[in-house]
Amino acid sequence: MALEFSEVSKSFPTQGEGSLLAVDNVSFRVEEGEFVSVVGPSGCGKSTILSMTAGLYQPTSGEVRVSNELVTGPNAHVGFMLQKDLLLPWRSIIANIEFGLEARGVGREERRARAMKELEHCQLSGFEDHYPYQLSGGMRQRAALARTLAINPEIILLDEPFSALDAQTKLLLQNSFAKTIKEAGKTTLLITHDLSEAVLMSDRILVLSERPGQVIAEIKVDLPHRDQPIKRRVLPEVGEYAAQLFKHLKLEEKAA
């Protein structure tokens, strides 16, 4: 088992007195090599779940375990990626990919070698000496994925990494991410508000309620081609899964 949330709640102090409960008694597990998506309305605590997995915040109550180790702070098991690529503009692409390795006592030559390997995996060969501003949005996200993979994490956390991209780039990038992640055999937690993206990329989907976030449904996606969302996209069952998600999120009632 790669990731486990047991009875996790998180509240934030608000201005003045009182506090805001963001996540309420959430429990779930993610098995090794599994690709799990978390969907839910905006403000439902999706990103809070991600930050707790990364060890950036501690839960108010309950436990988060990664690879059976209690998460008490930022740790080497987890690599995360946001909607913003967060490439350092003053570093070349290769130096950006090396960034995560620098604090981990990896020697200069090994860093470069590992970074070059990930650069190739993410189809960025030839761009190592470019600077982030010279790359397109999709390429920048691929560079961010390469940086995430370079530290060889056990879990990859993706927080809406495709949401800032145009529709075509998004499809291609989902496909390239899915392939790279499958090849690397990484456990992945994807936070997204795009329901079809969740269906196309995941083995399993967790549906969160509105704030305070609780897991209200868990849907196993029993479809082939997890490594090729573009192929999965044309399967007729995709629509049914999306409809299920719609129902759980009560989108029709809200639209009425």
Binding site: L56, F80, E102
Partner: protein, 255 residues
């Protein structure tokens, strides 16, 4: 390309027009040369200053203290800015005093420094340091406040220490603002030195201004002002070059 050419051409034309007006107008309007000397008067005076007044020494002295004051003041400003930027507490505690000192006219300290340190180079250096210090401090501090929190979190997630975050995220993030502060400071450095030299001492272009003024030698004052401007301009250009080098990673339109 044509556009760029046009800019340069127009710019040069304006310079020539101004120089011609400077040469022709004072005589045409019957303005005496001790009020506004013509271009040729000033050039003649410049030659005289070079041979009789040891102009080169004055120029070098002013340039030296401009650069020295600029370097010391901006170093102190940057260090202070980063230190305060690291500590919310001290920033809050000290910010009213910083604001007060920033508002206080720094050049007004010059006579005080002369009383304390005498008629030597110390007062002008201190005025320059003081005047350069604030824009650098304020720019760095402002930039430290606005460092992207997500970048800091990313670095933390990669297990960087506080010091690692500082050197690898905060310092590079703040460099564009630091450079902007240095550019402002470079233009102020000349003012600091000039005031220091005006108020006391017997070297530098600022001294030549008060000396020339005392003798009703307007051409000398003109020349000194122009030379001071040249020194400030050169410092600015050097900084601009450095900035271009350092910030090469920004798309051209952004700086």
């Amino acid at each position: 390309m044509i556009r760029k050419h046009g800019i340069k051409l127009t710019s040069a034309t304006i310079l020539i027009l101004v120089l011609v007006a400077w040469q022709v107008l004072p005589t045409a309007l019957d303005v005496p040369r001790f009020i506004i000397p013509t271009l040729s008067d000033s050039v003649v005076e410049l030659k005289r200053m070079w041979t009789n007044e040891g102009l080169l020494g004055h120029i070098l002295s002013t340039a030296l203290y401009t650069v020295l004051g600029f370097v010391i003041g901006s170093l102190l400003g940057a260090v202070m800015g980063y230190l305060l930027g690291m500590s919310k507490f001290w920033e809050k505690v000290l910010s009213p005093y910083i604001l007060a000192l920033q508002i206080a006219p720094k050049v007004a300290f010059a006579p005080l420094f002369i009383m304390w340190f005498g008629y030597n180079s110390m007062p002008k250096l201190l005025v320059t340091v003081l005047i350069v210090f604030f824009p650098v401090l304020v720019n760095v501090l402002q930039a430290m406040r606005t460092v992207d929190r997500d970048l800091v979190n990313l670095a933390r997630a990669y297990s960087l220490t506080r010091l690692g975050v500082f050197w690898k995220i905060e310092v590079p993030s703040t460099v564009p603002n630091l450079m902007a502060g240095l550019r402002i400071a470079s233009t102020l450095a000349v003012i600091g030195v000039t005031v220091g030299e005006l108020v006391g001492g017997n070297t530098g272009l600022g001294y030549l201004i008060s000396y020339g003024g005392g003798q009703a030698n307007a051409a000398m004052v003109f020349n000194a002002i122009i030379l001071l401007t040249v020194i400030g301009f050169l410092l600015y250009v050097v900084l601009e070059r450095i900035e271009e080098r350092v910030l090469h990673y920004l798309p051209k339109s952004q700086h």
